[in-house]
Amino acid sequence: METIKTKAYGEIQVEKDTEIFFKREILGFEGFKYYYLIEMGDLPNFYWLQSKEEPELAFIVVNPRLFKPDYVLNIDASDLQLLELEDGEEIVDFVIVNIPEDVTKMTMNLLGPIVINANKRIGIQAISLSNDYGTKVPIFTNLESTENKGE
């Protein structure tokens, strides 16, 4: 095990050598090449994508199919090449979540999916080839806003 610094939980222990190398970095965050994928204990299916190099840099990611069952990962063959995918190796993909003040208005970015070769721990932010996928797709479509409801 090794100790890492995280934005959400401070110092935590993770398995050694479990960081993911981002061969193509997250757009706008070039230079940050290593991330840990950390389960959000209190929120099933959501993960922190925590920068190894900058503790204050972290994204929340989720499997988009949880909220959009017909979601299809459609990326360029050259992106798959970057992931060095070989027979028997597995891809896992996520999308980045944006959490505004009103959490019922959470959105996910389907246009720039995070794609990871789970075996080699290589990641990229890809660009979806599906034209109808936007960067601000609402996650909850059947929830009222807390603003209106006042809990």
Binding site: G28, F29, D42, L43, L57, F59, I60, V103
Partner: protein
């Protein structure tokens, strides 16, 4: 930046295998044709900009997340349930 002047129907060749051709010029719009190998990715730059600003917004949206996590869990527990299998 390399700047070249081209007229309609004229082209630029990049790296021997990518041709960028000016198809037409109308008022403030230029129509460009691109012939490139299949493995060359071509996107409008706005796509990159859009993803980049979404990333930046998402990264800063995690600032106040510690207490929000509870709130979201609540939501999932209530209305979001039908979304799960």
């Amino acid at each position: 930046m390399l700047v070249l002047s081209r007229k309609e129907e004229e082209s630029i060749i990049i790296n021997d295998n990518i041709e960028i051709k000016i198809i037409g010029v109308k008022q403030d719009q230029v129509k460009i044709g691109i012939i490139a190998p299949k493995d060359v990715k071509i996107f409008r730059k706005e796509i990159y900009d859009e993803i980049q600003s979404a990333n930046i917004a998402a990264a800063s949206s995690t600032d106040k997340l510690a207490d929000l996590a509870e709130n979201i869990k609540d939501k999932l527990g209530k209305g979001g349930k039908s979304k799960k299998k």
